[in-house]
């Protein structure tokens, strides 16, 4: 526990978690003597929190030693997201707190962008600098020229700030770089998205079809737990993956599909389901529109046709279709999460949605349930100013289906040469490492050059912080209060995050930073509560709880208002689509000028000597943000490139050898990557885990370890419907000796 001397006294406006003496539950008081604790009736030994390492937000307890040091993190048994069991990243969250490579003090750039020469500054100076630049941009170009790229709990505060300032250009890379196509496809079909956490009823399903989802390597905690329960109940798992994933290892059927041909398989399944009368007739008749057009559309998409494209035998396609039908409606064609692959992803997810609809799984037990959430009032703030322009004005007509701002479009709009209808001049980046999350790094770096302001809010010195004008260090989730978690689930629930320790060094919470900026910009009225915990107490009291209660229980769940977890028999469900029904045939897409029904389009194949770059996750890490965590680097400190033995033999590569990867555009990876010779990957592809190959020397544990897949993703297939960046059309070859010239560049 750091001494109070170690933090620089924060000015009044940024009191936040350092409140001393004000109110019984200031964080500082919690860490004082046991005697005081008895008076406060607060359990010194553990404090509630919800995890920030990934988006699942499992609620848990932070246990401390008798000296008050953070010891371990355990799940909260009452929490529906984790059922008392945290995943390895959550359990290793203590490492995020203890990591000595964390950002410690605000910094302001002194040389040109990217050179990483900063000087330390006080919070006041740093916030003043940012506010000053934001005011300049507002007067020169209008507030609409500011953009926010955000991810995580801080999103709410910076979104509030930017909207108050006058811009609606708030992009989450998790939309266009990850789940966007899926959300749009399901919105277009069912009128509702799949949410985070996904509303898949895996624990009661009889057949789980994973097409592009590697559960077990992605650590979606609740889904892995439910899949385990389902395995105990004898679920049939069908995995479609060019790689023998962990899930494939637990599957009854593994379809080793040729990469990029998934839509063909889905269409063949739809064909089988329709033409063999496997579909849920009652459900389709009652709830779906466009069945006849769909039937006509898939007339020729037979398993034999799909075989020629996907290399999956026709009888296997038929068998698996029958399995799905037998299980219906307790069947899930899993929508996956990271679905930005080939640029036609919205259409592929439409096929998945259609298949689910035909099998009657949406809204049924073992399929997809209807989530419920707590209604928590927000603080009363003035109305936001109406921005004169929004991101859609940058390139009118582009990405018509997108219901959220598209991050890559905002990046494009920052490059004057693109002559955008709205030129972006300032970026605030919160909790996302754009260099690693957005493909085509060269473009991102080019866009940064022309900005008037780029500010990063982060806990670690990730690559994006090297490009910033101002680096604002945030404390980790273990050191701050944040908004209540009200994620939708089977039962409405709220979870509290409270600090287990005071912010280390000179860091502040996101709320603090956003409010500090607001004050400097004269927008204090949008952040009426000076301290987050005051707002929390007020909110909780409105719903019959209190901050004190939540500090003791961590998670509060209540029953649903109605017994409507699934559709009732013969319920007249009103879907939020134009027609009020499930749109198998999407008139919405048709009106926008796109295919109303998915079609298979062939994609580029690897040239001679090159292999398709397939990337994925590992359960020990979350993207690139945990690569430096000491607990997690113990498990995995570098990624490896999976190469099929036939190919490694051809190239003379051996297991454990280090090589560089070069892509089709001549980009060579900065760092070497270890070779793993394995049968688990097809001969036309190679596989590597995302999140390594960090080039920041300040990240002492992970600098130079493994290679970065993002660096090699230079060809981007942009989904014309909603801007999703398809990243799986990059091909790499192997470089065993890097010439001096290449190393130096």
């Amino acid at each position: 526990m750091t001494s109070r001397r170690d933090f620089i006294r924060i000015s009044l406006m940024g009191a936040g978690v350092l409140a001393i003496g004000k109110g019984t539950f200031g964080a500082a008081k919690l860490l004082s003597s046991p005697d005081e604790a008895k008076k406060l009736k607060v359990d010194l030994k553990r404090t509630p929190t919800y995890c920030e390492v990934c988006f699942w937000k499992c609620a848990g307890w932070v246990y401390k030693t008798s000296e008050g040091k953070i010891w371990k993190i355990i799940g909260n048994d009452e929490d529906q997201h984790c059922n008392g069991r945290f995943c390895p990243r959550g359990t290793g969250g203590v490492g995020m707190y203890y990591d000595e490579d964390r950002l410690k003090v605000p910094m302001i750039r002194v040389e040109e962008r990217g050179k990483q020469v900063f000087r330390e500054a006080s919070w006041d100076e740093a916030l003043e600098y940012v506010a000053g630049k934001m005011k300049d941009i507002s007067s020169k170009y209008g507030p609409e020229s500011m953009a926010l790229f955000t991810h995580g709990s801080g999103s709410a505060y910076f979104t509030n700030l930017l909207k108050a300032y006058g811009s609606s250009n708030i992009a989450e890379p998790s939309y266009a770089q990850c789940r966007g196509p899926r959300d749009e496809a399901f919105l277009a079909t069912f009128g509702e998205e799949v949410y985070s956490p996904e509303v898949t009823d895996i624990r009661d399903t009889k057949c789980l079809v994973l097409i592009g989802s590697h559960i077990g390597e992605n650590m979606h905690n609740g889904q892995i737990q439910e899949m385990s329960d389902a395995i105990d109940k004898g679920v049939t798992i069908i995995t479609v993956d060019p790689r023998f994933s962990t899930a494939a290892g637990k599957s009854k059927y593994w379809l080793p599909i040729k990469p990029s041909t998934d839509i063909a398989l889905l269409l063949a399944w739809i064909h089988e389901i329709i033409y063999n009368d496997y579909y849920d007739k009652k459900y389709v008749e009652k709830y779906c529109n466009g069945f006849d057009k769909l039937k006509e559309h898939v007339k020729d998409f037979t398993p034999e046709w799909a075989y020629g494209i996907t290399t999956i035998a026709p009888d296997k396609i038929r068998k698996t279709a029958k399995e799905m039908a037998n299980a219906s409606p307790a069947v899930i064609i899993h929508p996956g999460r990271h679905v930005t692959w080939y640029g036609d992803d919205t259409q592929r997810l439409r096929a998945i949605a259609i298949l689910n609809a035909l099998l009657g799984s949406w809204g049924r037990r073992g399929g997809f349930y209807r989530p419920a959430k707590y209604d928590i009032p927000s603080a009363k703030i003035p109305k936001y100013p109406e921005p004169k322009k929004s991101w859609t004005d940058a390139f009118p007509g582009k990405f018509p289906i997108a219901s959220s701002p598209v991050s890559n479009a905002l990046i494009d709009a920052s490059i004057p040469d693109n002559k955008p209808g709205l030129l972006i001049k300032g970026w605030i980046i919160n909790g996302t490492n754009l260099i690693s999350s957005i493909p085509d790094q060269a473009k991102t770096k080019k866009a940064i050059q022309d900005l008037d302001l780029i500010v990063t809010v982060d806990t670690m010195p990730m690559e994006i912080t090297g490009w910033a004008d101002v680096v604002l260090p945030e404390c980790t989730y273990l050191e701050r209060y944040d908004m209540l978690r009200i994620s939708p689930h089977r039962k409405p629930a709220i979870a509290l995050r409270m600090p287990a320790a005071e912010p280390k060094n000179n860091t502040r919470s996101g709320y603090n930073i956003a409010r500090g900026l607001a004050v400097k910009l004269g927008l204090e009225s949008y952040f009426p509560f000076e301290k987050k915990e005051e707002l929390l107490d007020w909110q909780l009291k409105q719903v019959g709880s209190s901050l004190e209660e939540m500090q003791h229980i961590g998670v509060k769940t209540k029953d649903r208002e109605a017994d409507d977890l699934y559709f009732a028999e013969n319920e007249n469900v009103a879907f939020s689509t134009d027609s009020g029904k499930i749109e198998l045939y999407s008139k919405y897409f048709e009106d926008a000028g796109y295919d109303p029904l998915p079609k298979y389009v062939a994609h580029e194949e690897p040239p001679e000597g090159f292999y398709r770059l397939i990337y994925g996750r590992t359960p020990m890490h979350t993207f690139g943000r945990t690569s430096n965590n000491p607990n997690l680097t113990d498990l995995m400190h570098e990624n490896s490139v999976w190469i099929n033995p036939k190919i490694s033999k051809m190239w003379g590569l051996v297991n454990g050898q280090y090589i560089w990867l070069k892509n089709q555009d001549g980009i060579i990876s900065d760092f070497k990557i270890k070779v793993r010779v394995t049968e688990r990957i097809r001969w036309d592809s190679i596989y590597m885990v995302h999140g390594f190959g960090h080039g920041q020397k300040q990240l002492k544990r992970c600098f130079g370890r493994g290679a970065s897949d993002t660096q090699l993703i230079t060809k981007v297939l942009t989904d014309p419907l909603m801007g999703g960046t398809g990243m799986r059309s990059n091909f790499v070859t192997f470089v065993t000796e890097k010439s001096e010239k290449e190393v130096a560049s």
Binding site: G249, D634, E679
Partner: protein, 177 residues
């Protein structure tokens, strides 16, 4: 009382949560681990088979480490749990050499350390840290001599195996296949 642990390899996904939980619970120094996860794979694409196992000290009935310890620091505690008494250990390394599972490691403080089945948690009625955290709930722990404990029940229901039984140590870590 005979404590034992079973890992359901049908459900284990190799996330290594058990390793991290053990590390934070028992303050295992960085760079060392009391448990680990092994993946074995067989076959040729696309006929492949994979087995993932979460492993640790087997707390063998016929433990060679207890037998070889010259000071008695390695001993059997309640339920047959093999423990190391830190202040009796001289750091000679005999136990590390005698374990066919290579389950022990030299702690930086000098003594030899390994999995303790979280005996400090068992005494309070809690499961070991790894069993308590496993997201797939594939780790079972309990008293083999109690026919109603969940481990006795699951071992009766399912086929199981141990690792290198021919080493003769009678390991108490079962893998449900």
């Amino acid at each position: 009382m005979r404590y034992a642990m079973a890992v359901d390899i049908r459900k284990c996904v190799g996330c290594s949560d058990c390793v991290v939980a053990c590390q934070t619970e028992n303050n295992v120094p960085h760079g060392f681990c009391r448990e680990w996860v092994v993946e074995t794979m067989n076959g040729t694409y696309p006929q492949l088979e994979i087995e993932i196992r979460s492993e640790r000290c087997n707390h063998c009935i016929n433990a060679p480490c207890v037998r070889c310890c010259p000071t008695g620091a390695s001993h059997f505690a309640e339920g047959g749990i093999v423990l190391v008494e830190h202040n009796k250990c001289i750091g000679c390394g005999a136990c590390m050499a005698s374990c066919p599972y290579d389950a022990r490691y030299p702690h930086p403080d000098g003594y030899v350390d390994k999995c303790t089945f979280c005996i400090h948690r068992i005494k309070s009625g809690l499961a070991p840290a790894c069993a308590a955290v496993c997201p797939t709930k594939c780790i079972y722990f309990g008293d083999m001599e109690d026919p109603n404990s969940n481990i006795s029940v699951v071992l009766k229901k399912r086929k199981s195996k141990t690792l290198i039984p021919e080493a003769g140590t009678k390991p108490q870590l079962y893998f449900l296949i």
